[in-house]
């Protein structure tokens, strides 16, 4: 489910569009709350008698005596349709009108009765903004916007202006879990289906040997290496231009594929080479991750989960290859009919890339 809530940044940005406030601050307060279930509630606290009076006049009635507090609540409920006319909750999309509850907190000898009005509704799916207007007050009032994962933002609005001032809704500043899920998926899809070159490299690693231990050793070396360079370059310690890294990545794939044709088993230097290539691929992943952008607040989370996603993508490729070849792997013709042609194909493609990327 898409979660929508208020971004503090968006609100701060719209503040600049607000005319500087007069300092005559009334007693009206508005609090808008957005929860993670896409529901909102907007609570208006305002002087009951002056609200009733304005509604009466707007309805063409003579502003009458205030009456008792219970009477005020009754009159407010009876004026629901009129009240709604000067209250705007706009998400830029069609939305059900809010349900409105009217309450009056009794006055005392020194404090007048206060109306507490609560608007509830659902934020329509895909909403990207929230525009509030309240035309039942003439004084300046505070609008506080709150959501579960953001700091409350208060802005001062001028009352009496229908169409008023707008805080914007934006996707919630995402939670750690959400970032983790997002970057896990980004890492995975960077390999599968988007990273054909990385897929071919992993297939190249897989094709050389039928011994699971050797596959695992190579994959581990590759993983450790690319994690190192990914982290170093994301922290800005290491940097390499894509025009250097990308052709080298293509060349590394070609190298592994050609070696698969020439070698029959994993040699010690192969692990070292795969490690070296891993360092190279890590730089490539870093380039991709930089393009995606990392949330500053959850840098480590995003880095780790992206890496994990990459890992998941690679293991999926290996698992798929394993499934596809498990029947013929023990056949005598496996090398001649599978490993060599496949490796040659990979070598061909990656040599072409190498040339194309230079």
């Amino acid at each position: 489910m898409r979660r929508v809530a208020i971004a503090a940044i968006a609100c701060a940005a719209c503040l600049t569009a607000v005319p500087a406030r007069a300092h005559e601050i009334g007693t009206t307060r508005v609090r808008a709350m957005f929860d993670s279930k896409n529901e909102y509630s907007i609570e208006i606290v305002t002087d009951a008698a002056s609200l009733i009076e304005k509604i009466d006049v707007a309805s063409g009635r003579t502003a009458g005596a205030s009456g008792d507090d219970a009477g005020l609540a009754r009159r407010l409920r009876a004026s629901d349709a009129m009240f709604r006319r000067r209250v705007g909750v706009d998400f830029g999309l069609r939305a059900e009108p809010p349900a409105i509850e009217y309450d009056v907190i009794r006055g005392t000898a020194t404090a007048p009765a206060v109306a507490k009005i609560t608007l509830r509704g659902r934020v329509p799916a895909g909403a990207s903004r929230f525009r509030w207007s309240y035309g039942w007050t003439f004084a300046s009032y505070a609008l506080t916007v709150e959501c579960e994962s953001c700091r409350p933002v208060t802005e001062w609005l001028e009352g009496g202006e229908p169409g008023g001032v707008l805080p914007s809704i934006a996707p919630a500043p995402p939670t750690r879990m959400r970032i983790a899920r997002q970057y896990l998926a980004l890492g995975f899809t960077h390999i599968l289906p988007h990273g054909l070159d990385h897929m071919l490299f992993v297939l190249g690693i897989f094709l050389l040997t039928r011994v699971p231990r050797h596959v695992l050793a190579q994959v581990s070396a590759f993983t450790i290496a690319h994690s190192i360079t990914l982290a170093l370059s994301m922290y800005g310690i290491l940097s390499a231009p894509a025009r250097v890294v990308e052709p080298m990545i293509a060349a590394s794939i070609a190298y592994v594929a050609i070696e698969n044709v020439l070698l029959r088993q994993v040699k010690p230097w192969r692990i070292a080479l795969v490690f070296a290539f891993g360092l190279l691929h890590g730089l490539g992943f870093a380039g991709a991750l930089k393009e995606l952008g990392l949330p500053r607040s959850e840098f480590v989370t995003a880095l780790l989960t992206f890496n994990l996603g990459v890992e998941g993508g690679q293991l999926t490729v290996i698992a798929a290859a394993w499934l596809a070849t498990s029947r013929c792997m023990s056949q005598s013709w496996y090398r001649a009919r599978v490993v060599i042609p496949a490796s040659l194909a990979i070598a061909g493609i990656s040599l072409y890339w190498t040339a194309a990327r230079i």
């Binding site: 500087a20 601050i25 009206t28 009076e53 006049v57 003579t62 502003a63």
Partner: protein
């Protein structure tokens, strides 16, 4: 001194501020709450007592001038004990508030408040299309009556920057008599200013008149009930104030007893 009736409709670009006592007629010894209201068409929102805004909040009666007491942040903003018969005048003068108004809104406000000279000045300076930096201050008064009204009682000039002074006791006004009101700016009559009177029971129909050379208007208040009389004056803001325009909002509230109408 042309009088006319204006029909107010849409929301106005700038708001009035006035004092609404919990009772316009009171007995000796009674405590009257003084509610500050900001709004339009005599429909207002509470303005709780804000010490940062108050320049003067005083009452004047036969016994003299006293500060109005109250609790900060609450509405009513102040309380006064009625201690002598006659008229009790309460005044509230605010410190200036600053506001930046978009050109369109400011121009609209100049039109609504009859501030044509300022609109002309802006046009001369080719500023009509520009946002306006304004500082505004309030000069609100209310008149509370106690005891039987005497024609000899009158409103009092408090010395506010812009001030409306009723020249007859509204509580002793006879039917079909005009209420002469004088507008003073820095204690001198202000000519050519728009004075508007609004009745609470019928706020959308306004009575308006321009002050004559002696700063006077004669308001024909045909309806009984609570009245708000208001006027706005604007000048180029003094250099160094950080604003372009300084405005002063005078208001006067009182009740016109039914028997007289």
């Amino acid at each position: 001194m042309a009088a006319g009736v204006l029909i107010a409709g849409t929301p106005l670009a700038a708001h009035d501020m006035w004092i609404e006592p919990t009772g316009y007629h009171s007995r000796i010894g009674e405590i009257v709450g003084l509610k500050l209201r900001v709004g339009q068409d005599f429909l207002g929102d509470p303005l709780p007592r804000d010490p940062a805004l108050i320049d003067q909040f005083i009452s004047v009666d036969a016994d003299g001038r006293k500060p109005i007491v109250g609790r900060d942040g609450t509405d009513p903003a102040g309380f006064v004990r009625v201690s002598s018969p006659g008229l009790l005048v309460v005044g509230y003068r605010s410190r200036p508030s600053r506001v930046v108004l978009p050109a369109e809104k400011f121009n609209q406000y100049l039109k609504e408040e009859g501030l044509e000279p300022i609109a002309a000045l802006r046009a001369d300076r080719r500023q009509t299309g520009e946002d306006a930096h304004e500082m505004f201050s309030r000069c609100a008064k209310t008149i509370i009556a106690s005891g039987s009204p005497a024609a000899t009682d009158g409103d009092r000039a408090l010395g506010f920057t812009l001030e409306l002074v009723a020249e007859r006791n509204p509580y002793a006004l006879k039917a079909a008599e005009n209420l002469p009101v004088r507008l003073l700016y820095e204690n001198r009559p202000l000519a050519g200013a728009l004075v508007v009177a609004i009745n609470r029971a019928n706020p959308s129909s306004r009575i308006s008149a321009r002050t004559d050379a002696s700063g006077r208007v004669g308001l024909r208040l045909a309806q009984s009930g609570n009245w708000l009389v208001k006027a706005v004056h604007m000048i180029p803001a003094p250099a160094g104030s950080g604003a372009e325009w300084a405005s002063f909002w005078a208001s006067l509230t009182f009740d016109l007893p039914g028997a007289q109408s």
